[in-house]
Amino acid sequence: MAKDLMFQNEIKEAVRDAYAGISTGAGETVARWLYSDEELAEVPAGAVAWALGVGNPVRYALLQPGEDVLDVGSGGGIDSILAARRVGPQGSVIGLDILEEMCERGRRHATEAGVNGWTQFRRGEMEDIPLPDGSIDVVISNGVMNLSARKSRALAEIYRVLRPGGRVSMADLTVEGELPPEIANDQSAWAG
């Protein structure tokens, strides 16, 4: 058990270090693959530049005005801001990220987008979400669940904070079949 916990901590540290070490997101090229021109026009350029996701969970979430949304692994805030546009000031968005510097970027971009009145960013881990039970209508995430060494724990936490009838919309990468061990065991590949 102790060895597993150490391995989990090593993975967490590797992911944290990888994200803390980058100075830009995947940028506009990748964002244009994932988001429409109309969606990109809704967010500040800085949030587009810091996009690091692998899909478009907001598009599939069918958010309604007044809903309370949690964005797990909010990064530079692109999905939080898109969600905030859809739920409006009657609703709320909380961006959760393991890095304070990412939260700060999210706050800056939300302020530029004019949605900061109902959008906040908090530092925290997806395996221990700092929110009460049954407080959220919709959880979104984008390329984040694969980063957890305790995926079932993270999903149980998401389940806990959702209200009955609440829903999730999560974009991620799936891999069918085996990857060569040199790739599967590479810390950069894990974090990416």
């Binding site: 940028g27 969970p57 790739i183």
Partner: protein, 78 residues
Amino acid sequence: MAERVFAAKLQGVGFEDVWVGGHRPSGIDEASHYPLFTEEVIELMRRTLPRERHDHVATGVVVKARKPRTRGRTKRTT
């Protein structure tokens, strides 16, 4: 994580109506745009993966699910 594993983990903690869609192939060229992938790991992928997999190393998906309206049993996980 394989798609079926993702869906099973959601069901395992109590979610229902699990749906997987929005499938989108993701290859090495796309990965090279992400700063988290070092040049070394991109080169490693090109060297170790068969050429026919270079355009489709992984698949981007969107997974949706719902928490039951009636109180379900939440499994404790560690």
